[in-house]
């Protein structure tokens, strides 16, 4: 097989894996948007916050230690214990549910029946608040996250492909794990929203608040649930990105990559978020591989956005989004 083609195949595979990670972040957006009509700008920061909290708990860091030391003149930083990965993940999830409750109690509950743009602004505020809170609680240094996921080159794939084509594919174990986890997560979410009473109630709330109340649905319960689920998705995304490139504040910028993903897939579709993520992941890697050298590289920075713009012109609801039906 020609070497160029093998390269392209490897690039495609890696693009698929990267796409899974984009899709994970996009999923969080879709969930909240479907359930409450809110475009949650804070989703990326939630992933960062979840990752920070997870590392903090694992390392036994004392939350707000800088603040405590500065005000009380003490010098404390660590509890002096280490929490195993699984337990830390559970504890972090408890924190994320608490956060979901607080968001609903102090922000969203007071904005019922407001315009979407106002809710959107509120989530921008929330994003900056969370970023600051993460900083104060856990410090702003770059941290490494290791919950015991396998990392590094998958030697089996490397050897098998080398024997078959005479060229070994480089696939990261972490990417494979991320793909499997994302697949499981999506299956679980689809089953939840389509086949359970709570899922049906969630779709009802997204559609019409008044009508939802009249059939006996508690809005507050559903909202806390939705933000908790979004928190969970953020946690999964945070773990994957954190393990890959360290827990740092630029992590919140991955949320921006989710935007073109959503424009492609449609803001209201869970499968759309997945397919959109994969298209962007593969697209930007292949484009960089094929066209990049001709235009001086760095196409990955803008390719996704240009693709999204093209979609906006020809198919504004995205690939899987609900058609907007207006009756006059």
């Amino acid at each position: 097989m020609p070497e160029q083609l093998l390269f392209a195949m490897e690039v495609t595979l890696n693009g698929l894996m990267a796409g899974v990670l984009y899709a994970l972040v996009a999923l969080g957006f879709v969930l909240i948007f479907k359930a409450s009509g809110i475009f949650n700008y804070a989703q990326g920061v939630m992933a960062l916050f979840a990752a920070l909290t997870l590392v903090g708990i694992m390392e036994g860091q004392i939350p707000f230690s800088h603040l405590i030391n500065a005000t009380l003149g003490t010098d404390i930083h660590h509890f002096g214990w280490h929490v195993p990965g699984i337990l830390a993940i559970v504890l972090t999830m408890v924190v994320m549910v608490g956060l979901a409750w607080a968001v609903n109690q102090f922000v969203m509950r007071h904005l019922v029946n407001q315009e979407p743009i106002i809710l959107f602004m509120a989530t921008i505020g929330l994003a900056y608040f969370l970023e600051g809170l993460g900083d104060i609680m856990w410090g702003s240094d770059i941290k490494t996250l290791d919950v015991g996921l396998p990392q590094g080159i998958n030697t089996w794939i490397d050897e098998t492909t080398f024997e078959a084509f005479g060229y070994g594919f480089f696939i990261d174990n972490l990417d494979i794990v991320a793909t499997v986890i994302a697949a499981l997560l999506v299956i679980a979410l689809v089953i939840f929203s389509q086949y359970t009473k709570q899922g049906r109630a969630m779709r009802a709330v997204a559609d019409d608040h008044q009508a939802a109340l009249s059939v006996g649905i508690s809005l507050n319960f559903i909202w806390v649930m939705v933000w908790s689920v979004a928190g969970f998705v953020a946690l999964v995304a945070g773990i994957m990105w954190g393990s890959k490139s360290g827990v740092q504040f630029s992590l919140s910028l991955i949320a921006l990559k989710a935007l073109p993903v959503l424009m492609l897939g449609g803001f209201t579709s869970i499968p759309g978020a997945i397919v959109g993520g994969l298209i962007i992941g593969v697209g930007e890697k292949l484009f960089e591989f094929a066209i990049g050298p001709m235009v001086g590289g760095a196409t990955e920075n803008w390719f996704a956005y240009v693709l999204a713009l093209i979609f906006l012109v020809f198919r504004p609801q995205g690939l899987f989004g609900e058609r907007i039906i207006e009756r006059v």
Partner: protein, 280 residues
């Protein structure tokens, strides 16, 4: 024990038989001296009335009389500043609308509140939410009790859909339906909850004569076949007089008449309110 006996005594008392031979039971819901204010505006002023088991009760009055506000008080969307709401012989604490719905009070809205993105079938299924008891995991895995429940709910919903003659649009997204059919789907969703009390806010507003006749027939059939107690608001006097057993008349937030249609029709205050005599 004594409490039960008292309750029975209460529900037994004062029932009556209508002209067409339907038995009306005791008091199901009683509004006592309800006053509702929005800031300085008094929407409802010291109104009392009751709704009896099995009856079709109408609330009528000119625009802005406070009819919808009254319905919103019953369904928990508004909580009155003064007065008491009694349901099945018990005083009801201030409640959220979803709690009222869970007590068996279903409603429709004046300007239709359906889940526009869902199909007719899904919309009607949401009406069954209060009847679903199985746990989340069981439902996700389609397990034992959850499966039975889902099948039972589907059967009941299909019955309602047949009853209201909307079989042919079961899979249609609600957003595509014309106005009259939307009203009917909303009624179907309310009926799916198997309500003890059904509240209809202007079920025939904006309909043509034929659609009004259909809707009237459905309302009478619901009352007849399911024995559902119905409280409705309506503008069309002719329809109200034909449908209802007893009528409450409101004007400027006050009650100006209460009784059987014939009696109310001849009440001087009611005639004045509708013909527009100057208020002093």
């Amino acid at each position: 024990m004594t409490g039960d006996m008292q309750m029975n005594a209460m529900t037994d008392q004062g029932g009556y038989v209508t002209e067409d031979g339907r038995k009306i039971g005791g008091v199901m819901m009683e509004m006592k001296n309800i006053t509702l204010r929005f800031g300085g505006v008094v929407a409802i002023k010291d109104i009392s009335f009751d709704i009896r088991e099995g009856e079709i009760r109408a609330i009528i009055g000119p625009n802005g009389a406070g009819k919808s506000s009254m319905l919103n008080v019953i369904s928990g969307f508004y909580n009155p500043q003064e007065g008491e709401v009694w349901f099945h012989g018990k005083r009801r604490a201030p409640m959220k609308p979803y709690q009222v719905a869970q007590q068996g009070i279903a409603r429709t809205f004046q300007n239709i509140a359906l889940f526009e993105g869902m199909t007719v079938l899904d919309n009607v299924m949401t009406g069954r939410l209060t009847q679903m008891k199985a746990g989340m995991a069981a439902q996700a895995l389609w397990w034992g009790k959850a499966e039975r429940e889902e099948v039972e709910n589907r059967e009941f919903v299909e019955k309602i859909i047949d009853f209201l003659e909307i079989q042919n649009i079961r899979k249609t997204p609600v957003a595509r339906l014309p106005y009259g059919l939307k009203k009917r789907v909303e009624l179907a969703r309310a009926l799916a909850a198997e309500p003890k009390l059904l509240l209809l806010d202007e079920p025939m507003a904006g309909m043509n004569v034929e659609e009004k006749e259909d809707m009237s027939r459905f309302i009478l059939d619901v009352n007849d076949e399911f024995g559902t107690t119905i409280a409705l608001i309506e503008h069309d006097m002719g329809v109200v007089m034909d449908l209802s057993d007893r009528v409450v008349v409101m004007d400027y937030g006050k009650k100006i008449g209460d009784g059987p249609p014939d009696e109310v029709r001849n009440n001087q205050d009611v005639i004045d309110a509708y013909l527009g005599v100057a208020h002093d």
